[in-house]
Amino acid sequence: MNDFDLDPIHELASAYLDGELSADERARAEASAEVQAAVASLAALRTALADVTPAKDSAREAALAAAFAEFDSPTDAPVVPIRSRRRWSTRVMTAAAAVVLVGIVGVGAFGSRGGDKASTTGGADERLSDMATKADQESAGGSPGEAPPSTIGSVFTGGDVAVAIDSPEDLRALAPPTDGDSTYSVPGDTLVPITSTVEMTAAPTAMRPALDCLTEQQVFLADIVYDGQYAIAARDTGTGVTVAIDDECNVLASVNP
């Protein structure tokens, strides 16, 4: 895949630095001045790599605040709003209508987050936008012309959602019903009526790399977070099998209809 030829001395030095050699290999490495010179070079490289300027205090506190907001307000809602990850073209919005719909309906069905009386993404966004404004004001700005650092407000952007999936059964619940009723079931066995027809189309050529993993028979259902990993849910229109696939085409979960 990469045409960089790895020098045997360099390879030995790299493994020696990491303590990943057998006793014999280690003895050989220690007896070689060339290997030891390479080890010293790589050690210097490691020191430089590890020397990362810590995050600004405001960024750290914003991250912790966001984490605690999630911790303090555990929700039953399967929908987890995340920062916008794509530009919503008309074609993408049409093809991904199910994702947005499940997100909006899910939030409405399962109530508010964090005591916010406005149990809609709009209310949550307003609160988080205020936090983002405050965080932006507190953090040092970037160079002129740069956008202010993304903080909490950019994490939660209404309208672009992923579903938190805890089990293969939850994955199955994302699949559209086969009885023709225009309803989607969501985790928790709450049937939520929808008002618009959702067309099951082929996976759009959007930015999610996992979409490239789908076969012609599979259709994209939703962006999901499965076991802490971003993934997509897709359904085989022939077999009805629903899968969770990550961006490297690994099938994280699979469930029969």
């Binding site: 990469n2 045409d3 790895l6 490289l45 600004k56 966001a66 911790f71 790399p209 076991d227």
Partner: protein
């Protein structure tokens, strides 16, 4: 009080609802999580966003964390994925040395016996630039080893690749970084009007 408890104990306490334990746990690991994100994404802003996303995902997944791996390994896997997602969101694709067929894409082999100094290490911008040119498949293992201090087995678990592949990719990644830094540092001394690989359109 959760002061001084190890990660495992803090995780258990946090899973049982202890906010203080979660605070201890996250504050203990945030800097290194951020450092991993910083080295993978290449920018402070992207790293902050990725680290924040990672923290949120850790909270959401905390109940399912079963302790088979260390908390750090689990956290860095989430941070790695969040960082890679951040890169894809921002459409920041590094130049894939080795995949470029242009005549300027020759990779100078670093001579491991040439001395103990790799040029350019003292320049943070050069290091950022060199990392940015490294393909993700090499950059991520190197970062997890040299920044997160994970061993090969832990990296293999995080990336879900064989240990042998981890070893090879780390060695190659380091080699390419060293070569890139040495080449870039040499080019810095060129007259500004002489085209270089880095400035070629």
């Amino acid at each position: 009080m959760s002061e001084g408890l190890d990660d495992r104990s803090l995780v258990v306490a946090a899973q049982e609802g202890s906010r203080d334990a979660l605070d201890q746990l996250f504050r203990r690991h945030y800097d290194r999580v951020y450092a991993v994100c910083r080295r993978i994404t290449g920018s402070d802003a992207d790293a902050a966003d990725a680290a924040q996303d990672a923290m949120i995902l850790m909270v959401r997944g905390l109940a399912r964390f079963d302790g088979r791996s260390t908390f750090a390994t689990w956290a860095y896997r989430i941070a790695t994925n969040a960082s890679l997602d951040e890169l894809r969101r921002r459409k920041r694709r590094p130049v894939l040395h080795g995949r470029d067929d242009s005549p300027h894409a020759e990779f100078e082999q670093a001579d491991p016996a040439a001395g103990v100094r790799i040029d350019g290490l003292g320049d943070r911008e050069l290091l950022d630039g060199a990392l940015a040119t490294l393909a993700e498949e090499f950059r991520v293992p190197v970062v997890l080893r040299d920044v997160a201090d994970l061993d090969y087995a832990e990296i293999a678990e995080v990336l879900r690749i064989p240990v042998g592949t981890v070893k090879s990719r780390i060695a190659r990644g380091r080699g390419m970084l060293a070569a890139s830094l040495s080449r870039t540092d040499g080019n810095r001394n060129d007259p500004p009007d002489r085209p270089t690989h880095e400035t070629a359109p």
